[in-house]
C-alpha cells in the first residue's frame, strides 16, 4: 500500500502545476461553503449575544436595523438623532433606567461612544488598568483599541475630524485616556468611551475658549450686546480639557435638545417594559422603542435566506467543478494509457492500477483537506474580525 502512495506521490510531484490546480479546486470546493458556515455561525453568535443582552432600545423612527447596529455594535450606519429630552422622558417615567448613547465621531478609526457610567455596569465591563471616567475630556478605551494604538492610562488620543475639508466644522479634541477596559470579546473592545457631554464637546456643542474679559486684542469682539458676545475666529478655542480650563467649558442652548443616537432602556421588570413599549406604539411619536433581539432575528432571517441561495449556487458550481475534475482525471488516465499498458505487460493487475489512481486521489484529497482545515482554522480564528468588517463596517 505504501508503495502505491509512493508511486502516486512521485506522479503528482512530477506534474506539479496540474496537482496544484486540482488541490486548489478541491480545497475551494470544500472550504467555501464551510467557511461561509463558520462565518455565519460566528455572526449569528455575536449578533444574538449582544442583542439578547440589550432589552430595549429607544431611537428615532426609521430603520430599526440602523438603530440597533449603531447602538449595539457601533456600526457606521447612523440613525436619525433623538434629543436628550427623549432620555429624560424615560427617566421621568420611573419604569426604566435610561442609558444614553451618542456614537458619531471616531478617534484614529475607532468609534467614540458617548454614554454614562451606567453603561459600564449594564454591560458588566471591568477596568483592567486605570480608573473610571470622572471628568470632562476623559476617555476609557476598549482592550483592542489600547492594544492596537498602544494606549495606556495617561496617554492622549485625538478625536478625528469628520472631514478635513470642513474648516468651520468640528475640531479635534485631545482626549485623556484614564483607563483601559478588560477584554469582553464584544464591540466594546473596539470603542473609545467618553461621557456623553464629552461627545458633545467633540461635536462643538459644548466648548471652552479664552476668557473674553482678559482679551489683549479688542478686534476679537465682533458684536457685543447685553448678555451676548459674538467673537471672531481669533478667539483661542481649547482643544484639550484640563483642570485649568475646564471651568471655561459651557453649553450653548438647552442641553435637553442635545443629540443622542439611542437610549438603552433597562426596564425595571417585564411589566414596565411592556408599559413603555405601549407608549411608543403611538403613531404620532417621533421615537420607536425596539426589541434588539427581534430586529437581529429579522436580519439573520434575511442572512440565512441569502445563505440558502448561496448554498444552491455553491452546490451547482461545486457539481460543475466535480464534473470538470472527473473529466480532467479521465483525460489524464487516457493520456496515461501507454504507461498503464506497460504496467499491465510487466505483470501489474487492474486492481493495482486502480489502487495507484486511488492513491493519487487520496493524496489530492488529503492535501485539500489539510489546506481546507488550515483555511477554516484561519477563518475561525479571525471570524470575529471578519464578521465585524462584514456587518458593522
Amino acid at each position: 500500500m505504501l508503495d502505491s502512495f509512493y508511486v502516486a506521490w512521485r506522479y503528482l510531484a512530477f506534474h506539479k502545476a496540474r496537482t496544484a490546480t486540482l488541490v486548489a479546486c478541491v480545497t475551494l470546493l470544500a472550504a467555501l461553503p464551510l467557511a461561509l458556515q463558520v462565518l455565519l455561525e460566528a455572526s449569528e453568535r455575536q449578533l444574538r449575544a449582544r442583542a439578547e443582552a440589550t432589552p430595549l432600545l429607544l431611537g428615532a423612527k426609521g430603520s430599526a436595523l440602523d438603530l440597533v447596529m449603531n447602538a449595539l455594535y457601533f456600526a457606521d450606519a447612523m440613525p436619525a438623532p433623538i434629543s436628550m429630552a427623549a432620555q429624560d422622558q424615560v427617566d421621568a417615567s420611573a419604569l426604566a433606567l435610561p442609558i444614553p448613547l451618542y456614537v458619531r465621531f471616531q478617534a484614529r478609526g475607532f468609534p467614540i461612544v458617548g454614554t454614562t457610567l451606567d453603561y459600564f455596569d449594564f454591560r458588566g465591563l471591568e477596568i483592567a488598568r486605570g480608573r473610571p471616567l470622572a471628568m470632562l475630556g476623559e476617555a476609557l478605551v476598549g482592550a483592542e483599541v489600547a492594544a492596537r494604538l498602544g494606549l495606556t492610562p495617561g496617554d492622549g488620543l485625538l478625536s478625528s475630524p469628520e472631514t478635513v475639508f470642513d474648516l468651520a466644522g468640528v475640531y479635534p479634541l485631545k482626549l485623556r485616556v484614564v483607563g483601559v477596559l478588560a477584554p469582553s470579546r464584544s464591540p466594546d473592545d473596539r470603542a473609545v468611551f467618553v461621557d456623553v457631554k464629552t461627545a458633545w464637546v467633540v461635536e462643538g456643542l459644548v466648548h471652552g475658549h479664552a476668557d473674553l474679559g482678559r482679551r489683549a486684542d479688542d478686534s476679537v469682539i465682533i458684536e457685543q450686546t447685553e448678555g451676548n458676545t459674538i467673537a471672531s475666529a481669533k478667539l483661542a478655542q481649547y482643544t484639550e480639557i484640563t483642570e485649568a480650563n475646564i471651568a471655561s467649558f459651557h453649553f450653548h442652548g438647552d442641553p435637553a435638545g442635545y443629540p443622542l443616537n439611542a437610549v438603552i432602556v433597562v426596564a425595571q421588570d417585564a411589566k414596565s417594559g411592556t408599559l413603555l413599549r405601549g407608549r411608543y406604539l403611538n403613531g404620532e411619536s417621533p421615537h420607536q422603542l425596539v426589541l434588539p433581539g427581534a430586529v437581529i432575528d429579522g436580519l439573520l432571517a434575511d442572512v440565512f435566506r441569502i445563505k440558502r441561495v448561496l448554498d444552491a449556487v455553491i452546490g451547482v458550481v461545486g457539481l460543475a467543478t466535480l464534473l470538470a475534475l472527473a473529466l480532467v482525471f479521465t483525460l489524464s488516465v487516457r493520456l496515461r494509457q501507454r504507461e498503464i499498458h506497460t504496467l499491465f505487460r510487466i505483470g501489474c493487475s487492474r486492481f493495482t492500477i486502480a489502487r495507484l489512481l486511488g492513491a493519487e486521489m487520496a493524496i489530492i484529497a488529503t492535501a485539500s483537506a489539510g489546506l481546507c482545515g488550515a483555511a477554516l482554522t484561519a477563518v475561525h480564528a479571525s471570524s470575529d474580525e471578519l464578521v465585524r468588517r462584514l456587518f458593522f463596517g
Binding site: 508503495d3 508511486v7 512521485r10 510531484a13 506497460t342 499491465f344 505487460r345 505483470g347 501489474c348 495507484l356
Partner: protein, 220 residues
C-alpha cells in the same frame, strides 16, 4: 526450456492468424525472431508471456504451462519469470532511474522490495554504466541510457526468460551493438533465455539461433 506445440491464435477482427506447429528454445539460448511487419512476432512474445491466450495449443515455459494458468497466476508468472524490454523503452517518465528499475517491485505483491533488492538494483545499474545516474529523471537520459535502464528493470527480478521486442530499434548503430552486448552479458550472467524480435539483420550473427516466423524456418 520453452516449448510451443500446435499453437493457434487469431485476433477477434481476424487481422492476424498465427499458427506454430512446434517450437522450442533451450535454457540459456539467445534466439532472434525475425519476419515482416504483421507476421505475428510481437503477438508470439505476448503469448509466451501469458498476456494473450491461444485459442489452441500449449505454451510451456520452464515447467509451467502458461496457457493453462488463471489471470492472477499468469500475472505472477510474468512478473517473476519474464523480463520485458521494449523498443521505445516504456520507462515511467515521472520516476527517476532507480525508481524505474525498482518499479516492478512496487506494483505487484508477487515481489518484495527488500534492502537486498535495492542493493542488487544499484549493482545492476552500475554494471550497465548507470551507477552515477540513479537519481536522474529518465527524460534527461539519452536513448541508449534509457534502454539500459529498461534492461535493468527487466533483469532485476532475475527472470528465467527475457523477451526483447525490437530492443535496439530506436538506437543509433553505435549504441545498438553496445546495448546488445550488455543485454547478452546480463542474460548470460543470470543464466536466462533470450527471445528477441528484431528487424536488424546486422545483429543476427550475434544470436545463437534465428527463426523466421513467416517461413517457420530456423538457422543457427
Amino acid at each position: 526450456m520453452i516449448r510451443i506445440e500446435a499453437l493457434e491464435f487469431s485476433y477477434p477482427d481476424a487481422s492476424l492468424k498465427l499458427r506454430v506447429k512446434s517450437f522450442q528454445i533451450a535454457t540459456g539460448e539467445k534466439l532472434a525472431l525475425i519476419g515482416p511487419s504483421g507476421s505475428g512476432k510481437t503477438t508470439l512474445l505476448n503469448l509466451v508471456a501469458g498476456i494473450l491466450l491461444p485459442q489452441r495449443g500449449r505454451i510451456q515455459c520452464q515447467d509451467v504451462e502458461v496457457s493453462s494458468l488463471g489471470d492472477r497466476q499468469r500475472r505472477d508468472f510474468r512478473i517473476r519469470s519474464i523480463g520485458f524490454v521494449f523498443q521505445d523503452f516504456q520507462l515511467i517518465e515521472y520516476l527517476h532511474v532507480l525508481d524505474n528499475i525498482l518499479h516492478p517491485y512496487r506494483i505487484t505483491g508477487a515481489l518484495r522490495l527488500t534492502p537486498q533488492v535495492r542493493e542488487r538494483a544499484r549493482t545492476l545499474a552500475a554494471q550497465m554504466g548507470m551507477g552515477d545516474k540513479l537519481h536522474r529523471p529518465v527524460d534527461r537520459l539519452s536513448h541508449g541510457e534509457q534502454q539500459r535502464v529498461a534492461i535493468c528493470r527487466a533483469l532485476l527480478p532475475s527472470p528465467a526468460l527475457v523477451l526483447a521486442d525490437e530492443a535496439t530499434g530506436n538506437l543509433d548503430p553505435c549504441n545498438k551493438g553496445l546495448i546488445l552486448d550488455l543485454l547478452f552479458a546480463s542474460v548470460a550472467d543470470q543464466g536466462a533465455t533470450l527471445l528477441a524480435v528484431t528487424h536488424d539483420h546486422d545483429l543476427l550473427p550475434r544470436f545463437d539461433r534465428v527463426v523466421d516466423i513467416a517461413e517457420g524456418q530456423s538457422r543457427s
